[in-house]
């Protein structure tokens, strides 16, 4: 048996045949893109000002982090660590918007899902706010808050909060009445119904809301950082483009996509698997 065969059997055992095939199929387009990119550099179809060679992207990381003295400096966000600073400030904004947006969106969403009066009061303003895309707020936000953290956070929260609010509201409304009745007949009060019926019952919808708000929020953030930011990946791309540092622009774009894939795979999908899939509340593929 050749080494290759042994390795392939080992991999199949580790991941399972179906999953392995899925992963392999999913990587094909990436491999094709990378190959074309590499060929472009070799054949010189398009000059490096348009498409920089792959190696220069790696170099850009070093250039941007020149003078950065190790992990401590990265974490304390010292000025020299530009590359990681941009990543950390984008991530920090997303994290902060979730820390604020998830609890407040869920709280108000549950209230509106429970009380018709509350829903009547909040729904129109929600539709109004949702209609204004995140980016449309940027000029106003700059006037109000200047460029920087407040502006970008404001844009993000506008996206995150309303999406989670609406998804929670719809989720709570969709919880079958019989669950509520059954908890009530066991003597459960309002709080028991909220924590044991409404919130878990609305969770499929809430998780969808969080995933959507992360997706839209991430996009809105990059746009907001370009115009109204003073740091972050969006800001980095914008400034680098102005300085004709095309490899830094490429680097920024790649990092944005990779970071999103990582959050989705490592955070949001496992979250779904551990809650609503285990409870049999969503259709499970394969």
């Amino acid at each position: 048996m050749s080494v290759l065969q042994t390795a392939s059997i080992g991999l199949q055992k580790r991941f399972g045949r179906q999953r392995l095939r899925k992963i392999l199929l999913g990587t094909i387009p990436f491999v094709v893109l990378l190959a074309m990119w590499q060929m472009n550099t070799a054949m010189e179809w398009l000059p490096p000002v348009y498409i920089p060679p792959m190696a220069s992207i790696w170099e850009a990381i070093y250039t941007l982090s020149e003078g950065c003295a190790g992990a401590g400096a990265v974490l304390s966000m010292q000025y020299e660590c530009l590359f990681t600073n941009h990543i950390l400030s984008s991530l920090g904004r997303v994290g902060l918007s979730l820390v604020i947006g998830i609890p407040s969106g869920i709280t108000l969403g549950v209230l509106a899902g429970m009380s018709r009066r509350f829903a009547h009061a909040l729904e129109p303003i929600g539709v109004f706010a949702n209609a204004i895309s995140g980016i449309a707020w940027v000029p106003l936000a700059i006037v109000w808050f200047g460029t920087g953290w407040l502006t970008t956070l404001f844009i993000l929260l506008n996206t995150v909060f309303w999406l989670i609010f609406f998804n929670t509201l719809l989720g709570v409304r969709g919880v079958p009445r019989v669950y509520e009745n059954s908890v009530m007949t066991m003597g459960g009060g309002r709080w028991a119904i909220i924590s044991q019926v409404y919130i878990p019952g609305a969770l499929p919808s809430i998780v969808t809301g969080v995933r959507m708000s992360m997706g839209f929020g991430w996009r809105a953030l990059i746009a907001a950082e370009m115009i109204g930011g003073d740091s972050g990946l969006g800001f980095m791309i914008f400034v680098s483009a102005a300085e004709y540092k095309i490899e830094e622009v490429f680097l920024g774009v790649l990092v944005i996509a990779i970071m999103w894939m990582i959050t989705d795979r490592l955070l949001l999908i496992p979250l779904e698997r551990w809650t609503i899939q285990r409870w049999g509340m969503v259709w499970r593929p394969d």
Partner: protein
């Protein structure tokens, strides 16, 4: 000994959801269920059976007449009346064991004591080995056993059952009926069981209350004098003590259905 559940001249009206017309669902219903008695309410569909159950459970406020459990007037839902609903009302996000212990959890019973009780009822309904499963992993029959155990485990004074076996297949239904009879013997619970199935009512009930079609009135009461221990389907089908009252109930119910069609 005073009756556990007393319904006295209970009437109920409500406006129709679409037309807004006044619907007269229950008309001067009076009945009582003794301690440890298994009573069944039978009637054609739309006779107000479920309305009655919702009022008894406290999910629907009543305006005319009175409902008393253990001598206390019913005002809203409470743990003294346990309900087994027609649909599977067990929570999908709780395991079998956590569903069954839910009532005790709400009552604030400490965990160790709760676990012991829960195990007792898991064994009673034959769900041993499924403690950590989620409801979606159970069959329809098992879900209803779980719902039954959950209601029993909270130790209500009266157990109200709203057509609990209507959604399961015929084979499972027969098994569940015999199981429920066995559980009634074991726990001596006071039960009010609502059904439109005449055989089921006669098989399970010590007494059957037959309701007329809307507005629901108590039309007749039929006693079934078969000891609980003897209630097994294969023996009962040829037992006059079962077939006679069953035929009587069937006749009473059919009168209502045919009146309706004319």
């Amino acid at each position: 000994m005073p009756a556990k559940l007393v319904v006295d001249r209970l009437s109920h009206h409500y406006p129709d959801e679409y037309t807004g017309e006044d619907v007269h669902a229950l008309d001067q219903v009076s009945l009582s269920v003794e301690d440890g008695e298994f009573s069944a309410v039978v009637g054609p569909s739309g006779c107000g059976k479920t309305t009655l159950l919702n009022i008894l459970a406290g999910l629907l406020p009543h305006t005319e007449g009175s409902v008393q459990v253990d001598g206390k007037e019913v005002q809203g839902p409470g743990p003294d009346r346990g309900v087994v609903f027609q649909e599977h009302a067990i929570l999908p996000w709780r395991t079998v064991a956590r569903n069954i212990g839910h009532g005790l959890e709400i009552q604030g019973i400490p965990k160790s004591e709760r676990e012991q009780k829960v195990q007792e009822f898991i064994d009673l309904v034959g769900l041993s080995g499924f403690e950590e499963r989620y409801p979606h992993e159970l069959s329809g029959g098992m879900k209803q056993r779980c719902a039954l155990a959950r209601t029993l485990c909270a130790n209500p004074v009266v157990m109200l059952m709203d057509e609990p076996f209507a959604a399961v297949d015929a084979q499972t239904r027969i098994t569940l009926q015999e199981e429920l009879n066995r559980i009634a013997i074991a726990t001596r619970k006071t039960i009010l069981f609502i059904t439109h199935n005449v055989d089921e009512a006669a098989f399970l009930g010590d007494r059957c209350f037959i309701f007329s079609r809307r507005p629901g009135k108590l039309k007749a009461t039929v006693k079934i004098d078969v000891p609980r221990e003897k209630r097994i389907w294969k023996d009962l089908l040829s037992e006059k003590a079962y077939t006679d009252p069953r035929d009587e109930i069937l006749r009473l119910v059919r009168e209502e259905v045919f009146d309706d069609e004319e």
